[in-house]
Amino acid sequence: MSFSLKPIGNIADSAANRIIKIIPSVTFSNKKVTGVLKWAGKHLSSPPSNRFILGASALMSQPFIDLNNKRVDEKTRKVSAARTIAKIVAGTTTGVIIRWLCFKATKSMAMKPSKSTGFLRSLLYPKNTSKVTVKGLTHHKMFLGHLLSLGVMMFTNFAIDAPLTISLTNKLLDKIDKKEKKITNNYFKKYPYYSSIDEFVAKSKEVNNGISK
């Protein structure tokens, strides 16, 4: 049995065709808008900056979605948000660095062979292909960059991302614990009816049992 994502892609394409009919026609005469589009075409399509934008926007949205997940208890919400922050920070940092290095490496190693370029500089250039176009070569370098970064990330996901996520999650959880303890201690200092949180919990259980009986 084979699993294909093509039907989802076809749905997306037909949805796009319908949406396009509703969108009004626009002529972009505003220089600021065209300037932004030009900048976006140059910078957003590069994988390292794309990964950075995704990471930064994830940091601004995902922890808040986790903290507002009312289907789970407060402790789970906090642990989940802490882990999400740690995962985003670790993943974005390593992701951006690895992509930047890999794409830079493939770009400098896929140059057209000439007397000035050494063996290494033209190692990834297609040599037996009859016609190498500028557009084709750009896509070729892009492919190799993705392939290399994917290969590197096979190891770094386990060797760097996972341990870094664990350590950052634990640091955040420690901070949350310290903050909670401080709030509890302040409460008992202010209202000294109970000597500790354990006594308070035991007493409230007794009260609850009494009510239920």
Partner: protein, 207 residues
């Protein structure tokens, strides 16, 4: 070790198969990348002894759902955004004044917005073609970025949390079920529950 002649063959094969279809590798690399990252993160949750069992029962399905939903929402949402941007630029519904002026001059302005019209097939001067290309790339990159932010950072977190919270409730209910002590023993022996009970120190979950 790959010999130099074989490496040249591989490089040529890559150029022939992927230089014309860059989107193919983006999708393939994305799917493999998400799956690998998810596997690493699940192992990070399992081996983190500071996270209690009860929370692990939420975090493991959350991470698993994160990869699955990310792949599906990338296909459904990001692809829709990219397809819209490509069509808007291709059909000339969204256009630069210089390109519009050129098309009007050559009696092609009537076709603007027609779903079958393709500006990239129209012969135009090199400078204008360059102008059209950067507009096209810009629109495409902006739409793809907005689509990815929406799918990966808004839709996926909501859906993965929804799935994970249901899984957590189900697992806790099964383990704490007083009616079926025998079934409970079976559950505890299963590999799924041994994953959650990796660390012996935690005492948050009462079984």
């Amino acid at each position: 070790m790959v010999s130099p002649s074989n490496s040249i063959k591989i490089i040529d094969y890559i150029y022939k198969n992927y230089s014309a279809k860059p989107g193919k590798i983006l999708i393939h690399a994305g799917v493999i990348g998400w799956a690998l990252s998810s596997a690493a993160q699940i192992s990070a949750i399992i081996f983190n002894d500071k996270i209690p069992k009860e929370q692990k029962m939420f975090l493991v399905p959350q991470e698993f759902a994160d990869a699955c939903v990310n792949i599906l929402s990338f296909y459904a949402v990001t692809r829709t955004f990219t397809a819209i941007a490509t069509k808007l630029a291709k059909t000339g519904k969204w256009i630069l004044p210089s390109v519009k002026k050129y098309l009007t001059k050559h009696n092609l302005a009537n076709n603007l917005g027609n779903p079958n019209f393709d500006i990239s097939q129209v012969k135009m001067p090199y400078s204008l073609r360059k102008h059209y290309n950067w507009f096209n790339y810009g629109l495409d990159a902006t739409a793809t970025t907005i689509g990815s932010v929406l799918s990966c950072n808004i839709i996926t977190p909501f859906l993965r949390n929804f799935y994970a919270s249901h899984r957590q409730h189900d697992n806790i209910a099964k383990i704490n079920s007083p009616e079926c002590p025998q079934q409970k023993k079976k559950c505890l022996k299963s590999p799924v529950y041994s994953i959650y009970s990796y660390q012996p120190k935690s005492s948050n979950l009462k079984i």
